[in-house]
């Protein structure tokens, strides 16, 4: 470190000691930390207030914004414990508190030792997807008329899709977490069932759509911005020999999306 930097930094070293001790949830008491050299002895014991409020502030904020469904499904205590474990390994660096848990699902998958932890990771992914779309630019588009050619009909944007994971029924999990739920997680949540599509249809409306596994490639293509016509081509290629049988499923799915106002026609 250069001499100039030392001059600039030394008077502020206490800030690093403070933040580092506080956010690492250091088991050392204030008296055992570097802070005892800078904080007055009569107020030293109050430092623990900052440490305990650090986690409670993050948990409370994230539960109100992003992780409400996780809190409903797993309980506030579990959410707080998961976040504490995560931030111990990944101290927050994001300006916005809502960006702080971005690596949480990945962290859980790498460290999970229970099936509930893996479910939490997947539900957290959905929660963050919801937040991204909620705060993204609002959709603008016109509902397609009956005679609009299929190459001009698209899925409303913003939208995102989570493909079937092979492990969890995310649509059922989301539904279960939409209100305060019972104390245990239903076993059905641990069965793979379908993909989950999320579309913003107005500034205040998000729609979750369960996507049958067979329509995986179709929805992927729609979310990527392809029109219904080109997405149907992608679907037919993926369905191959079974295309004819799946067509009814596709038609029913498209009718449902039209009825829910999730389609738009691209302006010429």
């Amino acid at each position: 470190m250069s001499e100039k930097n030392i001059e600039t930094t030394l008077p502020f070293i206490y800030q690093w000691s403070f933040v580092e001790w506080m956010t690492s949830l250091d088991a050392r008491t204030p008296l055992e930390s570097e802070l005892c050299d800078v904080v007055t002895s009569e107020s030293l014991y109050r430092l623990e207030t900052y440490q305990s409020s650090f986690l409670s502030r993050i948990s409370s904020n994230l539960s109100e914004t992003i992780f409400e469904t996780c809190e409903n499904l797993f309980g506030a205590e579990v959410v707080a414990k998961v976040l504490a474990g995560f931030f111990k390994f990944h101290p927050p660096t994001a300006d916005s508190i809502t960006d702080a848990p971005i690596q949480l699902p990945e962290h859980l998958r790498a460290t999970a030792d229970t099936k509930e932890a893996l479910l939490f990771a997947d539900v957290a992914d959905v929660c963050m997807m919801r937040w991204r779309i909620l705060t993204a630019e609002d959709p603008h588009g016109v509902s397609p008329r009956g005679d609009t050619p299929l190459d001009a009909v698209h899925l409303l944007s913003p939208s995102e899709y989570i493909a079937p994971s092979g492990k969890h029924d995310l649509a059922a999990a989301w539904e279960a977490g939409s209100e305060k739920t019972s104390e245990h997680l239903p076993d059905s949540l641990f069965n793979d069932s379908a993909g989950l599509l999320l579309v913003k249809s107005s500034p205040t409306d998000l729609t979750f759509v369960r996507v049958p596994t067979k329509l995986n490639e179709f929805v992927r293509a729609l979310v990527a911005g392809l029109s219904i016509e080109y997405a149907t081509d992608a679907f037919e290629q993926s369905a191959a020999a079974d295309a004819e049988n799946c067509l009814a499923l596709l038609t029913e799915f498209m009718a449902k999306m039209q009825a829910q106002g999730l389609l738009t026609q691209r302006s010429p």
Binding site: T8, Q15, V19, T40, S53, T93, E137
Partner: protein, 292 residues
């Protein structure tokens, strides 16, 4: 103080959006910048725009600039703030005189600064850069403190005021924070308020606090106590403003379950106690009129 100068208001909270839409008159509102930062759409922005449009005026309040910290000022954060300023044209833009992070690690807390000459120089320079980046005059808020430092060289009011004078910024005077800090260090709150340069005050906060063990804790989750209302009343008696200066006074309450009715009732009672009738429905702020 001239009654026409004061505009009373409350913080705008998501839990109250639907209630505000049915209110015929809306007082001053404080927008929490961090609740909307980098939102390009969505319900928070949608509701806030519609509600603030009918408010007497709005002010914008952040928590994340890290004014007294050492990490470089975040151009992304300041850019987000600037976007919000352009959308809402707030009368006052503010954040806290504190540090919130170090070496890139965020605490998301308002941590007290060591009150030294170097800290004054450092914070003043940063506020200068903030004001340049935002293109508006900025205001700094005093925080509640539970700890103090062996090397503190200035009383808080003098520290804040010196920085305001050097940088040309305003002071958002949080009366509850003065009270909490004073009580926590066995000081007289009235004496501590007098140390602030009241001529630099652009906005006032009033809020509740709670008791933790043997000290006061700034929680914003309870009603304002009688002592803080009394302190505010005495402070208002000391303020002298020119005729055309507007002073927003915002009642803060972050408790999730506090209803809007409870909040507005408290505001009405508090403003009447202070000798000022609540001014709901003052002419809305006009475009371009901001930054006291």
């Amino acid at each position: 103080m001239n009654t026409q100068n004061i505009i009373w208001g409350v913080g705008l909270r998501p839990a109250h959006y639907s209630d505000w839409h049915t209110q015929t008159k809306i007082p001053a509102l404080e927008i929490m910048a961090d609740n909307l930062l980098h939102h390009r759409g969505g319900p928070a922005l949608w509701h806030t725009k519609r509600i603030v449009d009918r408010a007497a005026l709005c002010v914008l309040h952040g928590v994340g600039i890290n004014i007294g910290g050492l990490s470089p000022l975040s151009t992304k954060y300041l850019g987000g703030l600037k976007d919000l300023i352009q959308i809402f044209k707030p009368r006052v833009v503010s954040d806290h005189l504190c540090f919130t992070q170090a070496r890139g690690i965020q605490s998301y807390e308002l941590l007290p600064l060591m009150r030294t000459k170097k800290a004054i120089e450092h914070a003043s320079a940063r506020i200068d850069r903030i004001q340049q980046a935002l293109g508006v005059r900025f205001s700094i808020e005093n925080v509640s403190a539970y700890v103090n430092y062996k090397d503190d060289a200035f009383p808080e009011g003098e520290f804040v005021s010196e920085i305001a004078q050097r940088s040309g910024c305003g002071i958002l005077l949080d009366v509850n924070n003065v009270y909490v800090s004073a009580m926590n260090f066995n000081l007289n709150p009235e004496d501590e308020i007098k140390r602030f340069d009241l001529n630099a005050v652009t906005q006032i906060h009033v809020a509740g606090h709670s008791t933790r063990d043997d000290f006061l804790f700034d929680t914003h989750d309870s009603a304002v106590c009688a002592e803080v209302w009394e302190l505010l009343k005495k402070t208002l008696g000391s303020l002298r403003f020119s005729e055309n200066k507007i002073l927003p006074i915002i009642l803060e309450n972050d408790e999730r379950n506090t209803s809007l009715k409870t909040l507005l009732d408290e505001l009405k009672n508090g403003s009447q106690f202070c000798g000022e009738g609540i001014s709901i429905g003052q002419p809305p702020h006009s475009s371009g009129e901001s930054h006291v």
